[in-house]
């Protein structure tokens, strides 16, 4: 399963429609919607948390959450 947690720094992807029910409401409200563009900006040591830019919002989320959100990598 390809999730946000498997992104490399600087890599772009789109949030998959399938993970709609896995995304916490709060994150959804902050712009992390299916179809939205997501980019990994930075990783803290031990790859947790992740600093991402999604739908124009710059957010830090924990790996635990990131690994539940499926993505489709941009070609």
């Amino acid at each position: 399963m390809t999730t946000i947690a498997s992104l490399h720094i600087g890599e772009l992807a789109y949030i998959s429609e399938e993970s709609l029910n896995e995304i916490p409401l709060k994150l959804l409200e902050m712009g992390c919607l299916p179809g939205a563009e997501v980019k990994l900006i930075q990783l803290a040591p031990l790859n947790d948390p992740l600093y991402i830019c999604v739908n124009g919002s710059h957010l830090a989320i924990r790996k635990e959450t990131a690994s539940k959100i499926q993505i489709i990598k941009a070609q």
Binding site: L20, N21, I23, P24, L25, K26, L27, L28, E29, M30, G31, L33, P34, I41, Q42, L43, A44, P45, L46, D48, P49, Y51, N55, G56, S57, H58, L59, A60, I61, R62, E64, T65
Partner: protein, 706 residues
């Protein structure tokens, strides 16, 4: 309208949108912090003149991304909005948005709009548009949203923007009934929402929807109405799914509108953020930078606070002796000069340190750097059962645990927040410093090792490290033992870097210092007065002290000063507090303390630094209480009659240092912990746990060293 009128206006917005800047511009010095009834979150209110005949009471609501709350702060926003149509709730809401994140900001706007309250959309930071390659068609946006829209840049050009906002508030207030933006119900499951509406037609569908999804009800609703809604809620299977759908629909609607009105040309954007983030969130340099910054902050606190603290100290001592001399002698004189004035002085003296620390914390928050610290520290702090957001309270704890405990409110996970609250008092707060200073001066030689490191300074540093390490260890133990499930999850916005607004920093420092002065102050002052009473009153033997000493010494040649000192000392010994000290002596003897130190320990419950002043009185030191050298000399020459050695020898001193590092001797902090955790259970656990730890460790230290 020709008559004078006052309306209620609430400011709502995402964090980091400049909402507080706008609030400060609208109200200026005309603001105060109060409390929301029943909850602990501070309510910031101020007055503003909108027109010659129309005034407004402006409320700055806590920053939030949505009206569906996940933390204590955010709950307030929903509560305020659901209680509309009563006299205290907003007539107009100003939604403050940041031009760069307009899409996300409009989500909150769309929710507010659906509550059908007159609304103004204030799009802030428009001076950044050029740099970010953004352009907006304001007139079309007004039409699409059917709402007042104001572009402003509070920081760059406060005057113009604020006047525009005021005009828009008036316009919105006078206009016809506000209409919803998204009729969410029609898009999800119309039949379901029709049934919801049938239950209670008094409220709008969206209000009812918020009540059942957020479990939050207006104050006025009756128990039966509440019950009916809860039954309906329990029968709904798709609540969570519908909430997701609602949010997605809102974003669809927002995207449609923005497509026509909002353009970004990324090629024109210059990205300072990316460059700074490379350094500040770097896996190695990020930490080096953070710890260097911390070191510099602590260094400056020590350097800058000494002068004003000495000044305050002298002024209060002068005031006390002035009152003592000028007022006619008696109980009232004693109460004021020995109870109230030193009590107030004991509060004021900490203001410099606390204000300086909060100046730095506020600066770091304003620039956006603090979020990077949260990002860097989260994983490490999680090992200890806390969150990246716990770093700010732990740093604040080095000034005072009271504002630090209050700073935990934005930690959304209850377990993480509770652990942070429980361990924060281990960090070395400013009240411990005077105690550490005098004991270190007594037992550690003022020598240098390796030519540069001062032994006394090194001891103080070790005590700071001891405090932090214990906080961490305690957190790990709590993390392992507390059976609380962490329900909330972690997300932090990483705001764009910006220059801090000095006005915001100023108001922030004032607010937090006030929280200390009035939160802790009341308790410190009342305990000071109680202690004064216990120290200046006693049973029968107390009344005879003066006569007995005079009789005893009549044949000896002693100066009047010396005689008065002997009387004061003997009085204290026979006072209620002296009796208390003596009665706990058997308990504290294994730690190396006598009843005199016992008195000082008891009086430390007002605030730890009272230790020094109390010992000064017990050893009847000449002149004012705080003349450190005299107290030090007197303490240094105090003899333990049982062993005929110095009372404050190395083992006793070390034992005391450890005791003060661990024991929970601050009533004010316990009161705040009770308020924040809403039960006596946690402050009690804190008090007993820290007390037992202090006792055991001091016991071990004393017994092994002596």
């Amino acid at each position: 309208m020709s008559y004078k009128k006052t309306i209620n206006v609430a400011l709502i917005g995402n964090p980091n949108t400049g909402k507080t800047s706008l609030f400060n511009e609208l109200t200026g010095l005309n603001q105060k912090v109060g409390n929301y009834p029943g909850v602990t979150v501070d309510k910031k209110e101020g007055k503003s003149k909108l027109q010659s005949n129309l005034k407004a009471i402006i409320t700055d609501l806590p920053g939030t991304y949505s009206i569906n709350p996940t933390s204590l702060d955010e709950t307030i926003v929903l509560k305020t909005l659901l209680n509309s149509k009563t006299d205290k709730t907003p007539d107009v809401i100003v939604v403050v948005a940041d031009v760069e994140n307009l899409k996300r900001n409009l989500l909150l706007f769309s929710q507010i709009k659906d509550l059908e309250i007159p609304t103004v959309l204030a799009i802030n930071m428009v001076d950044q548009m050029k740099r970010k390659g953004i352009s907006i068609d304001v007139n079309l946006l007004k039409k699409e949203l059917s709402n007042e829209v104001v572009l402003l840049s509070v920081r760059k050009n406060p005057k113009i923007g604020v006047e525009e906002v005021k005009k828009a508030i008036v316009k919105s207030y006078n206009s016809a009934k506000a209409s919803p933006l998204c009729n969410v119900n029609n898009r999800i499951d119309p039949a379901y929402f029709d049934r919801l509406k049938e239950i209670n037609p008094k409220y709008s569908i969206y209000e009812l929807w918020l009540m059942i999804t957020q479990n939050s009800f207006p104050d006025k609703i009756s128990e039966d109405e509440k019950k009916a809604l809860l039954t309906f809620k329990n029968d709904s299977k798709n609540l969570k799914k519908y909430q997701h759908k609602e949010t997605i629909y809102r974003y669809q609607k927002i995207n449609e509108i923005l497509k026509k009105t909002y353009l970004t040309d990324r090629s024109k954007a210059t990205d300072l953020r990316a460059k700074l983030d490379k350094i500040f969130t770097h896996k190695i340099f990020g930490y080096i930078l953070f710890f260097t910054l911390l070191l510099l902050i602590f260094q400056s606190i020590f350097d800058w606070a000494t002068l004003p603290m000495d000044f305050i100290d002298t002024q209060f001592a002068n005031l006390s002796s002035y009152v003592n001399k000028t007022m006619s002698a008696g109980v009232l004189n004693n109460l004021i000069s020995e109870g109230i004035i030193p009590g107030v002085g004991g509060i004021i003296i900490f203001i410099p340190q606390i204000a300086i620390l909060f100046l730095f914390v506020s600066l770091l928050e304003e620039t956006g750097y603090m979020s990077r610290v949260v990002f860097l520290m989260d994983k490490i702090m999680r090992r200890f059962g806390m969150s990246g957001k716990s770093v700010i309270p732990l740093i604040s704890g080095t000034a005072c645990a009271i504002p630090a405990v209050m700073a935990t409110r934005n930690i959304s996970g209850w377990k993480e927040r509770l652990i942070t609250i429980l361990v924060t008092p281990f960090t070395t707060c400013s009240a411990r410093l005077p105690v550490y200073a005098i004991i270190i001066a007594l037992i550690i030689p003022d020598k240098k090792i390796f030519g540069i490191l001062n032994l006394q300074g090194l001891t103080l540093l070790s005590l700071y490290i001891l405090g932090f390490t214990t906080a961490i260890i305690a957190a790990v133990i709590l993390h392992k033992t507390l059976k609380i499930k962490n329900t909330s999850f972690f997300v932090v916005e990483m705001p764009d870097y910006k220059l801090p607004s000095l006005k915001n920093v100023f108001f922030d420092v004032i607010e937090k210092t006030k929280a200390f002065v009035f939160g802790a102050g009341k308790i410190i002052l009342s305990i000071s007065i109680v202690l004064w009473f216990l120290a200046s009153n006693g049973p029968q033997s107390y009344a005879d002290v003066e006569k007995n000493i005079k009789e005893k010494t009549i044949s000896q040649k002693i100066s009047e000063v010396k005689l008065n000192q002997m009387i004061a000392s003997a009085k204290l010994e026979n006072s209620y507090i002296g009796i208390m000290g003596k009665s706990i002596e058997p308990l504290i003897k294994p730690l190396g303390y006598d009843w005199k130190i016992g008195i000082a320990l008891i009086s430390s419950f007002a605030a730890r630094e009272v230790f020094v002043g109390t010992l000064a009185t017990i050893y009847s030191v000449e002149s004012d209480d705080d003349d450190i050298t005299t107290i030090k000399q007197r303490m240094g020459s105090e003899i333990n009659p049982e062993t005929n050695t110095k009372r404050f020898n190395f083992p006793v001193g070390m034992s005391l240092l450890v005791f003060y590092a661990f024991a929970m001797q601050c009533m004010a902090t316990l009161a705040i912990v009770k308020r924040e955790t809403k039960s006596w259970k946690w402050p009690l656990i804190q008090f007993v746990g820290m007390g037992v730890l202090a006792y055991i460790c001091s016991f071990i230290v004393f017994q092994t060293l002596s």
